[in-house]
């Protein structure tokens, strides 16, 4: 018995069991750390950015299935994309993760594909932080990579 299918969708468990792009990138790739003080989850995002494109991205860290799967899906979604696209995807994802009204600032036509599977998380407010950890760290990393 369990009503958790909404949260733990198969594609999420797949990314959790077999994370994509797990590992490090050597410098000059940037490395950005993020953590979730409440649950202790930690993540590092490695970014290789040039000419306005995310050439490569990796992540390492410890965390629950949601934080790990979300980070894995994130890397798969942004790799090879232009910075503008990456930002649009991240904005769209964070919209998906809010219970509040959208402010319309992110283009609704950005497609998230598999990542939509994470929308079940919204029903479990405390887990939203897990799902967005990798994404927030990505955004910080982009700022560093461009600086």
């Amino acid at each position: 018995m369990s009503n958790l299918e909404d949260l733990y969708r198969e594609v999420i468990l797949d990314h959790y069991r077999t994370p994509r792009n797990k590992g490090e990138l050597p410098p000059p790739a940037t490395c950005t750390e993020g953590s979730n003080p409440l649950c202790g989850d930690e993540i590092k995002i490695f970014l290789d950015v040039s000419d306005g494109v995310v050439n490569d991205v990796r992540f390492t860290g410890h965390g629950c299935s949601i934080s790990q799967a979300s980070a894995s899906m994130m890397t798969a979604a942004v790799k090879g994309k232009s910075l503008d696209d990456v930002r649009a995807i991240a904005r769209r994802f964070k919209q998906l993760m809010t219970i509040e009204e959208h402010d319309g600032s992110a283009p609704a036509d950005v497609k998230l594909g598999d990542i939509e599977a994470l929308q079940g998380v919204v029903k479990y407010p405390v887990r939203i932080k897990c799902a967005v950890l990798g994404w927030n760290t990505l955004l910080e990393g982009l700022a560093t990579a461009q600086a």
Binding site: L38, G40, C64
Partner: protein, 408 residues
């Protein structure tokens, strides 16, 4: 079992609550306990029939309220075997009590290079106040390490304590349930010339407390973990100690006189109770102490030992090596609180699945990050029981873990 747990549970309205049409299994009592009817009723009855400001006003109702308030102080004093109610200071929680220790005694008595000794199993509430003071005063903090099974490693305690001024330690780990030898640790502190500050948050609600037998110099604990209301904690120290300490918070109630250029302090314990105290909450705590005393702390302890035994066997019988229970295995040496790792599944996922079964455990670092680093995890799942917990709660936990296996 000599306690009639079924009858006892009826006293706790929260335990009757259902979620999704099913009973709940509350296994987070180390975090905060539920409140029996007598506590809830005492508080609301007082607000309905007896409320008045205490201490400052002198009309009938105010003096009645003061008497009720002071009676609660006497109950608490008796509960921990203090020499006098004047040794009992009410704070807002154990955290404030420990900050009081560091800020009042510490700031007055510690200087550059002085040593404060903590243990690797402390709660942040017994770490951060000392770190704040250490940063301000350039103190050295030393740590008592743990053995491989997460007991305090006392082999070099005396040398760690050498020259120390403060030894602050928990009487029971909130993560592992480990019960520490408080008397022995106080003695070691005194041999080294240090004061012994006991964080009693986890032991005071669960077993007999005797500050005189311990020989402790300070004790901190919270009402909300011992069937009492939120919003009130206790700081205890002998009168001579309290007398020697400067005030912590300044304001009404703690002064004897205020002039433009100076103030003088009031007598004990008012000196440490600035502002309007948590009047209703202190009176509620008094009711909680009556409730616990009525049951008897040794009965509480006995029940929790039996339940810990039962839980161990049930978990190990079903899951064997798939479950790791951190810390001591002998239930006589521990409280009814245990952190566990289950089949490599992240504690957050464990607790999420358990939640679906109305089994409420806490997943996280339990405000003990240094200990987490030793355990080698960012987080653990923790089940913690109390006098109202029963074998059903344990069985529900054991069964619900099956679902964790099936998902992950």
């Amino acid at each position: 079992m000599s306690l009639d747990i079924a009858a006892l549970r009826k006293e706790f309205p929260m335990l009757q609550r259902q979620v999704g049409g099913k009973p709940i299994h509350y296994l987070d009592s180390a975090n905060s306990s539920h409140k029996p009817n007598c506590v809830i009723d005492t508080m609301s009855q007082f607000m309905r029939e007896g409320y008045a400001p205490i201490g400052r006003s002198s009309y009938t109702l105010a003096s009645e309220a003061s008497t009720t308030y002071e009676a609660a102080r006497a109950k608490v004093a008796h509960f921990i075997n203090a020499r006098s109610p004047r040794e009992v200071v009410f704070t807002k929680n154990a955290t404030e009590s420990l900050n009081l220790a560091a800020q009042s005694w510490g700031r007055a008595n510690l200087g550059k290079g002085d040593v404060v000794v903590l243990t690797h199993m402390e709660h942040h509430a017994n770490i951060v106040p000392w770190q704040m003071l250490a940063a301000e005063k350039s103190l050295e903090i030393r740590w008592v390490p743990l053995t491989a099974d997460f007991q305090l490693d006392l082999t070099s305690l005396d040398s760690i304590l050498r020259g120390a001024k403060v030894f602050a330690f928990t009487s029971m780990s909130n993560v592992l349930g480990t019960i520490n030898p408080v008397r022995e640790l106080c003695d070691a502190a005194h041999r080294a010339g240090a004061i012994a500050v006991v964080d009693g948050c986890q032991s005071v609600p669960h077993m007999t407390t005797d500050v005189q037998a311990w020989g402790a110099d300070m004790l901190a604990f919270s009402s909300h973990k011992m069937c009492g209301p939120t919003g009130v904690g206790v700081f205890w120290a002998p009168e001579a100690m309290l007398d020697s300490m400067p005030p912590f918070l300044g304001g009404g109630g703690m002064i004897s006189d205020v002039r433009l250029d100076s103030f003088t302090c009031a007598e004990l314990p008012a000196k440490f109770e600035a502002g309007t105290p948590p009047i209703v909450e202190v009176i509620g705590l008094g009711a909680a102490v009556d409730f616990l005393s009525g049951i008897g702390m040794s009965e509480v302890r006995r029940h929790e030992i039996e339940l810990t035994n039962y839980a161990y066997r049930a978990l190990k019988d079903r899951y064997g090596d798939d479950i790791t229970i951190h810390g001591a295995t002998n239930p006589e040496l521990r409280g009814a609180t245990f952190s566990f790792a289950f089949r490599g599944v992240h504690p957050h996922d464990v607790s999420q699945v358990l939640d679906q079964h109305n089994v409420y455990v806490r997943a996280g670092h339990h405000c003990a990050k240094p200990l987490m680093r030793l355990i080698g995890a960012n987080a653990t799942a923790r089940a913690s029981m109390y006098l109202y917990s029963d074998e059903n709660d344990v069985d529900a936990l054991v069964d619900a873990l099956d679902d964790v296996s099936s998902i992950f």
